[in-house]
Amino acid sequence: MSNAAIELRGITKRFGKITANKNVNLSVYGGEILSLLGENGSGKTTLMNMLSGIYYPDEGQIFINGEEAVIRSPKDAFDYKIGMIHQHFKLIDVFSAAENIVLGLKENGRYDIKKVTARVKSISEKYGFDIDPDKKIYEMSVSEKQTVEIVKVLYRGADILILDEPTAVLTPQETQKLFAVLRRMRDDGKAIIIITHKLHEVLSLSDRVAVLRKGEYIGTVKTAETDESQLTEMMVGKKVSLNIDRTESENTADRLVINGLDLYDENGVKVLDDITFTAKSGEILGIAGIAGSGQRELLEAIAGLLKVSSGEIIYNNPKTGDSENLRDKTPIQIRDLGVRLSFVPEDRLGMGLVGNMDIVDNMMLRSYRRGKSVFVNRQSPKKLAEDIIKDLEIATPNANTPVRRLSGGNVQKVLVGREIAASPTVLMAAYPVRGLDINSSYMIYNLLNKQKENGVAVIFVGEDLDVLTELCDRIMVIGSGRVTGILDGRTADKNEIGLLMTGTNGGAENEN
């Protein structure tokens, strides 16, 4: 039997008291796609960072093509022909694709961009990439940028490719295209490791699946011999039901009416273009779209954080029956009007929470103004923090732990817990399950559903179309800041949504 392209033996990595990887044994062969599956915080990225030279293992050995290897820096990793495509792209916007690809490469001889372009083209043809080497990065879509990153590592002669959640930013169509390319690279004899937590992708793409749970290596199975429920069980450690209950909406009323919203960013680029929709009480309205299509701006405009240039945001108060226009109002003014608007922003630690503060102080963010005293009252926030820790099963030493020390899922539970505790009438959540494990994700879905049953108008910005179509009552699709369609969540089709996302259908403008 030939040697594995990569073999890990007894790899252990600790950060302080936390063991991120414990005695992991794993091997990948040339000409296969291995999925590395695990919940968030299970140590997938840490493990791969040890292969790409970002971290150094505390214990264990790495063998590459049968020889022991020591990878101390990303450069060492390149020397071993390991290339990693990170979740966040590392490209220079004003450079062309070809320029980015050769950037930092020390080749002998004169810098010859024509030669580079020719080689990029030949790599692209070989694997079926769709790439224009002369196109500047800032003109590219997310999927094109990803292609550049992949070509970049291939150009450096990588034989082992590691992709960290490559599909997180892609539409279904783009994902299919990426998978086709990956299959071709596999057939060419490359070893490919893909980090993911989307089960259906694992099943459709990979040859074998390795599962990590809480830093421990659980096992490797052949994809052909497994199914979703077995993989989930391996990942979570117990059986999990993967169904989202979608109750019928009752007593819906127009809670938030958005009318012709236009918004320009600080550079004068139009990011929201004539957005019109209605959020109803007792209903979950999903917002689908490619990342960066204006979802963040829309929610921030409604929350009073961004100034719109035209349009109106009408809130119908269920208590008084009054209608208020929230446009040009600050968050404080909105609250003073008695509008109970909760907002779970995309940037949890940069906006929703303060990472260096403990859970109690983060609970206080919403409530500290209460009362006339000049001093803050930490008693009720402490009580709230303890309740939320208990109800949402937040894993934390105590309520006085800084939020940044918690894992992603627990951070999100703190944030969602606080926003729901304000008993909102409108709840906006942007990517609330991004980076969360299966258990936590389903807990968040259930919380949103419970809010819906309580008559809250829920606005849910999501990225996983499977979840959107299972959870939402209606799905609004936006592309480049425009509403390209509003569909019934019960009948919507993923491919239809995907087409609307790219704006090739239904938009005011067609890409010709």
Partner: protein
């Protein structure tokens, strides 16, 4: 396959961040740092001066605690440094780098001196001193709030702005000294030497006691303000993340300006204490670099006002000790500066070992 020799060996050290450290372990590390600093200093002393290091350290301690008078001067110096450190702390907690304490203190001091010079003994001390206090605080506030206003409205760089305001502040002081001292020596003598108008009174016959009490009170107020008040909480939120502050509806501009008013006011108070309670005169060198030393005091204490009493004690103790050995052993001032430099280097450097752990290559694998 060709394997590079250096690739096959694990690095000798690698550094990992500590997630948490028990408080007594941190203090052991600090104690080790101070002891090693003293050992290193001993070698330097022997190499440079051939004196007995123990003798030198003894003199250093005597410089601060040698006599009752020296203890009072020590306490007074600590009080003034602490006062200015307290002033910069709220701004620093808000990540507003107020490097302009020097100028804010100076303008505060100038305001007091002007009151003393113009009112002379025309009004009783009971009225003059409150007027001076208000004038000083107002001066400090104006000097502090100008950069804050520009930062809040146009996002100017506060470090540069406050730093340059220091140089601007020396000009009116120099100007008024010229006006008040017509003989051209441009040195202001003690104001109201005979009448002692505008001089802070001695308390229980102790010259600096009132200064020290005032600063002690300010320390407690600042501690409570930062830790328990709503405004203190807003300062922390703005400092940690302006986006979060906006998200929960804090008016970031208002907080920046309000906090710099407080910072400038305490600087003004320090200027008042220096003129009215200590020097009874004004010069362009009134703050004497304390506006910058205060930054170190505040940082070393991680912005905790109570811990700042310790860090300002440490700095003042080293300064006084250094001065003492320079005179006692007839040394060049530079030698004592080298010694304080070494000690401060070790104290700041040990924070690295408190935050990070160094893992050595284990023996088994090294072979």
């Amino acid at each position: 396959m060709k394997t590079n020799e250096k690739h096959t060996r694990e690095p000798l050290f690698h550094i990992t961040k500590r997630s948490d450290i028990v408080w007594w372990k941190a203090w052991i590390i600090r104690a080790i740092a101070i002891i090693s600093a003293l050992i290193v200093c001993s070698f330097v002393i022997i190499a440079l001066t051939k004196y007995n290091p123990i003798q030198v350290y003894k003199t250093m301690i005597e410089g601060s605690f040698g006599s009752e008078r020296k203890i009072w001067i020590l306490l007074q110096n600590i009080a003034m440094l602490l006062c200015i450190s307290l002033a910069v702390t709220p701004a620093f907690k808000m990540r507003f780098w107020n490097l302009g304490a020097e100028g804010q203190v100076l303008i505060g001091g100038l305001a007091s001196a002007a009151c003393m010079f113009y009112f002379k003994d025309s009004i009783p001390n009971g009225l003059l001193i409150p007027i001076m206090l208000v004038a000083s605080i107002l001066g400090g506030v104006i000097w502090g709030v100008i950069p804050a206003f520009f930062k809040a409205n146009w996002g100017t760089n506060e470090s540069l702005f406050t730093l340059m305001m220091n140089y601007v502040a020396t000009q009116p002081v120099a100007f008024f000294i010229m006006v008040w001292v017509p003989n051209g020596s441009s040195v202001m003598g003690v104001i109201n030497q005979m009448t002692k108008s505008g001089w802070l009174p001695d308390l229980f016959g102790k010259k600096y006691l009132l200064n020290i009490i005032v600063v002690a009170v300010v320390t407690v107020i600042m501690f409570v303000y930062l830790k328990y008040s709503k405004q203190g909480y807003e300062i922390s939120v703005v400092g940690e993340s302006e986006n979060t502050a906006r998200y929960i509806g804090i008016n970031v501009k208002k907080v920046i300006i309000r906090t710099m008013i407080i910072s400038g006011a305490v600087c003004g108070l320090a200027g008042f204490l220096l003129v009215s309670g200590t020097n009874h005169t004004v010069s362009t060198n009134l703050a004497g670099g304390m506006g910058f030393t205060a930054i170190m005091v505040s940082w070393l204490a991680k912005f905790n006002p109570v811990v700042m009493t310790l860090t300002s004690f440490l700095i003042v103790f080293l300064q006084r000790g250094a001065g003492e050995i320079a005179t006692a052993f007839r040394l060049n001032e530079s030698v004592s500066d080298i010694l304080t430099g070494i000690i401060i280097f070790f104290i700041i450097g040990c924070e690295f070992f408190i935050n990070y752990r160094i893992n050595k290559r284990s023996k088994k694998e090294a072979e």
